[in-house]
């Protein structure tokens, strides 16, 4: 991957100049504030088949990763890097985290190892807008991500809802539907990430709607727009800018984060004290009990 030649961001041209400006601004932000070398790394995660790869392609404005409608085309994480005005934009596409109704630890492990020594600036947690329910599995995914990268990652996260061009169920307006769906998903995220109530405000995760389909409506300047009229790519970029410019830091994935804290080293220094405690308060106590037993033992009448 490292040897991969970083190509010029050609797809950028498709976007309107406003979007391009925003992207530049975004990259500039990382340059000024976070890194001396300007790099922005976006990690895309989510269930299988929700449109992670498509979103990546939409953002890049080119068919950078293979997409198939019916099966998983992403067996392992893929990082696509594009350079723009001296800065590097990395976007990492990952395989779906769910397999057979379980969170696939192996995939998670694979992603973690792939991310070794990289800094994640933005996490895109992708799900579909047009699924009505959230279940325990969603929570487990969020939990798995939290366990892998820490709670902090949710300060750098965006919830991306794909298939945004959807007709809401009867009796619901589009906005109402999207807000309810986002709310439900955010609740799950908060649960899975174990964000406490006090922290909700500080770490509110923004929700962005996305429509990757080629049949997506477009506005007059040829930007893909959502049913409510928002051009979603600039919106996504803008939200990313907001997230990056918040006071949180990017997540550096190092060996320690991948393996978790070594449980074998936890509390090792306390062992001498534990041993002393065991001797004086457990062994001695039991010895006392035994002595007591001997003293109170009911002897046969002849003894």
């Amino acid at each position: 991957m490292a040897s991969q030649v970083i190509r010029e961001w050609v797809g950028m041209q498709q976007f309107s100049s406003a979007t391009e400006l925003k992207l530049l601004e975004l990259l500039g932000k990382t340059k000024q504030e976070v890194h001396s070398v300007s790099t922005l790394t976006v990690l895309v995660m989510g269930k299988g088949g929700v449109g992670k790869s498509s979103t990546v392609n939409s953002i890049l404005g080119e068919r950078a990763v293979a997409v198939s409608a019916f099966q998983s085309e992403t067996p392992r994480p893929v990082m696509v890097s594009r350079s723009l005005a001296g800065s590097t934009f990395n976007i990492i596409d990952t395989p779906g985290l769910v397999e057979g109704g379980y969170v696939n630890d192996q995939v998670l492990d694979l992603i973690k190892r792939f991310l070794l020594n990289k800094t994640i600036d933005v996490l895109l947690y992708v799900d579909r807008l047009d699924t009505y329910r959230v279940d325990n599995l969603d929570r487990q995914i969020v939990k798995a991500i939290t366990d892998s990268f820490g709670k902090e990652i949710w300060r750098r996260a965006l919830v991306v809802l794909t298939h945004a061009q959807v007709s809401p169920p009867d009796g619901l307006s589009y906005d109402e539907f999207t807000s309810r769906r986002s709310e439900a998903l955010l609740k799950i995220v908060r649960l899975g990430a174990r964000i406490r109530k006090q922290e909700i405000k500080a770490s509110s995760v923004p929700v962005v709607l996305v429509e990757n389909s080629g049949r997506c409506n477009k506005n007059e300047i040829d930007e893909k727009i959502l049913p409510n009229g928002t051009a979603w790519i600039p919106n996504l970029v803008q939200t990313m800018i907001d997230v990056v410019s918040s006071d949180s830091k990017g997540i550096l994935v190092d060996q320690k984060l991948i393996e978790g804290p070594n449980p074998n080293n936890k509390g090792k220094v306390l062992i001498p004290f534990i041993l002393a405690f065991q001797y004086f308060f457990v062994v001695k106590r039991i010895q006392k009990w035994i002595k007591n037993d001997i003293a109170t033992e009911s002897r046969p009448s002849w003894a």
């Binding site: 397999e99 057979g100 379980y102 696939n104 630890d105 192996q106 978790g260 070594n262 449980p263 074998n264 080293n265 936890k266 509390g267 090792k268 306390l270 062992i271 534990i274 041993l275 065991q278 457990v282 062994v283 039991i286 010895q287 009990w289 035994i290 002595k291 037993d293 001997i294 033992e297 046969p300 009448s301 002849w302 003894a303």
Partner: protein
């Protein structure tokens, strides 16, 4: 078990054919130790005890026992056995007290005689040993008709001395009450005559003498009534002895006291001399009481007897018999098998003194026997045996059969002897004393054993071939009792295939060194050093519910172990030592595997599961200290266990070994068996219902390889699950409760159990709990019944909600 029958001791001096029936206790122990016996061989007393009738027993009312006769008794008896001793001693005292008491009061009454008697219970023996009875039986074929008119009463001295009379029946006539007494009366036991026996006049006279001198009667007569068929009916009419009422009772131990030789009483003594004589006797007796030791009879029994005395008013012979029976009953019930009431003294003085020979141990002898039963020199050192003997069996203590049994059990637990006898024997040199003899037959010191087995494994095509027949077996040797100090070396090698032993070879070499602090030191510490190996299936690499077969991991351990065990009680002990071992983890095909395998959802197997060892190479070496303290005060009440058991174990890593393992792995187990109802203890009584409460905490700080992780689930963890089905964690807590209700000879039980990883599964490297999709916690409940050694139980696993029937050997707790 050994029971020493305690026949009643009659107050007759003649027939003190006391016999303690030989009691045999047989305990079958572990295979290597043959059965052993406790034998209490009391000699059968010779029948030559019949003292000659006293020629001149002055028939005043306070001298019942003639002194001459008494001396006869002493002379003629070779004093052996508690019973016999009782006899001779009793006589002398009876005489003393009778005379003394009578003299001082100048009134009526004499001493009650002591002695043994063939009671109803051992009438068989009395028949055999009573000369009269023998005579009767010998001549039962022919007897002479009385040759007198029928239905006349003939006095004894009118009977012919040459005839053998057949006695058709015997009647007792209480003159005071003017009625005959029934056969259940205690007096009946005193007569050796039996209906349909054949007796000569001399025998009948002797019988009468016996009765007359027993001290029980003031006056006894024997009349014969002729029957038409030539037989005679014997009527014994008597006047029971009575003494002044008493309101005090004292029981003294007169065992081992020197015999006071009575002074010959000259019949020509003047009144004054007689008075002097009685006074001196009285003084002697008082001194005797003073010198005697207090007896073991507890105050409640003494009070009970006092109550008997008060209710009765005058002290009668029958009452004394009753008291004697009660006192002896207490002694025998409490295991003092050699205790005898020998005499009642101080009658007519408001106080009844009950003299007891309790059976003091004068000597304890340990004897070794060879195979043929000859006394030989043993290899075992004497202190090894001696320290197993209860204090109550030492010299100066009163012999108790229970202490004897205890000694037997203790010696048996040494596993050094093939036959053990604990044998109380009367001390011939020291009247009333008991010599405790311990006879031991030693086991062979060295033994070696080879056992083989053939196993046929399916060969090619499933058909057994010659090559598929595997010779397997065990070679073991043992060298016991080194230096006579119970040190031993034992070794064994087991393989299932001698042709290819490296496949599966289990070996063990062990050295045991007891009495580490010296055999005389009461501290009981044993050093054990062993060299071992073992192979076990790791429960860490087990799937949760609904997970298909997880490829198994075998954990092989081989190493050295040395520990010291200090026994506080039979069950409570403290063990500490050093363990050095090498742990190798292997997969199914015996290849060393450094990581667990897992089945991928696609069906493939990936070998990147949790690491099996600390070093991640598949082979770990480590040294650690191990300590275990067990407190166990459980006991059996009618076959059900009741009490408390606490075990605490620590493995403390020393940082020696692969990856310098430094850890503290600890577990605490608390089990309580709460008796829910008080029950009477005894053989055949129902056991109480019991509530078992159990808690087990296990934890580890520091390096924790997966093979040392605590697993949840299994018959000894949470029933209803497979071994390790709930999880493998760093810290665990198990809680269990079981209610046992006795039903007939067995019990049924209901239980509920819970196991929890306390969220520590993730703290095991590689998180095997999660990798194999286990819950990390689980409960179960169920019911079961104990069928002999097997428990049959129905347990419901709460995680999946399904139940199953299990059959298990042994106990859960």
């Amino acid at each position: 078990m050994a029971s020493i029958a305690a026949p009643g001791l009659a107050l007759s001096v003649h027939r003190s054919h006391r016999r303690l029936t030989p009691a045999t206790a047989t305990t079958t122990t572990a295979a290597s130790v043959p059965s052993l016996t406790i034998k209490s061989k009391h000699p059968t007393f010779p029948s030559s005890l019949n003292p000659k009738p006293s020629s001149s027993s002055p028939r005043n009312n306070f001298d019942i026992l003639g002194s001459k006769k008494l001396q006869n008794v002493i002379k003629t008896t070779a004093v052996i056995g508690c019973g016999l001793y009782a006899l001779s001693n009793g006589v002398s005292n009876a005489q003393l007290s009778g005379n003394g008491g009578g003299g001082s009061s100048g009134g009526s009454g004499g001493g009650g005689g002591g002695g043994g008697g063939g009671g109803g219970r051992d009438s068989f023996w009395s028949k055999i040993f009573s000369p009269a009875a023998i005579a009767g039986e010998e001549e039962s074929q022919e007897w002479d008709s009385h040759g007198l008119p029928a239905n006349i009463v003939v006095q004894l001295n009118k009977l012919s001395g040459f005839k053998k009379y057949k006695v058709s029946d015997i009647m007792f006539l209480d003159r005071r009450r003017g009625s005959t007494v029934g056969t259940e009366d205690s007096f009946f036991e005193m007569v050796s005559l039996r209906p349909n026996g054949v007796y000569t006049k001399a025998q009948l006279t002797k019988e009468l003498e016996t009765l007359a001198t027993s001290g029980m009667f003031e006056k006894v007569d024997l009349d014969a009534k002729t029957n038409p068929d030539g037989t005679v009916g014997v009527t014994i009419s008597f006047l029971e002895s009575t003494w002044q009422s008493a309101d005090r009772f004292r029981c003294i131990n007169v065992g081992l006291m020197p015999q006071s030789k009575p002074i010959e009483m000259d019949p020509d003594m003047t009144e004054k001399e007689k008075l002097e004589y009685y006074r001196s006797q009285e003084k002697d007796y008082r001194r005797r009481i003073e010198r005697s030791r207090p007896c073991l009879l507890p105050p409640p029994v003494q009070r009970e007897i006092l109550q008997m005395l008060r209710e009765q008013g005058a002290v009668s012979a029958r009452l004394l018999q009753k008291i004697r029976d009660r006192v002896q009953q207490w002694y025998h019930e409490n295991g003092y098998a050699c205790a005898q009431v020998v005499n009642f003294g101080n009658l007519n003085t408001k106080e009844v003194v009950c003299e007891v020979v309790e059976g003091d141990i004068t000597q304890m002898v340990v004897q070794f026997q060879d195979k043929l039963g000859n006394v030989c020199e043993g290899n075992t050192q004497y202190p090894v045996v001696r320290r197993e003997l209860p204090r109550q069996l030492r010299q100066g203590q009163v012999f108790n059969i229970e202490a004897g049994k205890q000694a037997l059990r203790n010696i048996n637990s040494l596993a050094l002897f093939s036959n053990i006898e604990v044998n109380p024997r009367p001390d011939e040199k020291n009247e009333g004393g008991i010599i405790v003899e311990i006879k031991l037959k030693e086991l062979e010191q060295k033994s070696a054993e080879v056992s083989t087995e053939w196993s046929i494994v399916p060969g090619r095509g499933g058909r057994p071939t010659l090559a598929s027949i595997q010779p397997g077996g065990t070679v073991s040797f043992e060298h016991r009792n080194l230096k006579g100090l119970n040190r031993s070396i034992l070794g064994s090698v087991t393989t299932s295939n001698f042709l290819n032993p490296q496949d599966d070879l289990a070996f063990k070499l062990e050295y045991v060194h007891p009495y580490l602090d010296g055999v005389y030191n009461s501290r009981n510490r044993t050093l054990k050093a062993s060299c071992f190996n073992s192979r076990k299936l790791s429960p860490v690499f087990t799937g949760g519910p609904g997970v298909d077969e997880v490829p198994p991991i075998w954990v092989d351990r081989a190493g050295l172990k040395a520990n010291i065990t200090e026994n506080f009680t039979r069950q409570s002990k403290f063990t500490y030592g050093l363990v050095m071992e090498e742990i190798t983890t292997r997969d199914e095909s015996s290849h060393i595997s450094s990581r667990g395998q897992r089945v991928l959802p696609s069906g493939g197997i990936s070998a990147d599961g949790p690491p099996t060892t600390l070093s991640e190479t598949g082979i770990d070496r480590m040294a650690f200290l191990q300590a275990n303290i067990t407190r166990d005060n459980t006991k059996f009440i009618n076959g059900t266990i009741v009490g408390e058991r606490n075990v605490f174990q620590v493995d403390q890593g020393l940082g020696i070994g692969s990856k310098f393992p430094f850890f503290n792995r600890h577990q605490l187990t608390m089990t309580r068996f709460v008796q829910l109802k008080q029950v009477e203890e005894g053989v055949g009584k129902a056991p109480p219902p019991v509530l078992v409460l159990h808690g087990h905490y296990g934890g580890c700080v520091g390096d924790l390889p997966s093979y040392d992780a605590f697993t949840l689930g299994g018959p000894y963890s949470v029933r209803g699950y497979n071994m390790g089905e709930i999880g493998a964690a760093r810290n665990i807590l198990e809680l269990a409760a079981e209610l046992r209700i006795p039903v007939r000879n067995t019990h049924v039980y209901a239980f509920a159990e819970h196991g929890n990883d306390l969220g520590s599964s993730k703290d095991v490297k590689g998180n095997p709990t999660e990798v194999y999709r286990r819950m990390g916690h689980g409960s179960s409940y169920g019911v079961g019944v104990k069928l002999g050694l097997v428990r049959a139980e129905y347990a419901v696993d709460h995680n999946s909600g399904t139940g199953a029937i299990f059959f298990r050997f042994g106990e859960r707790f």
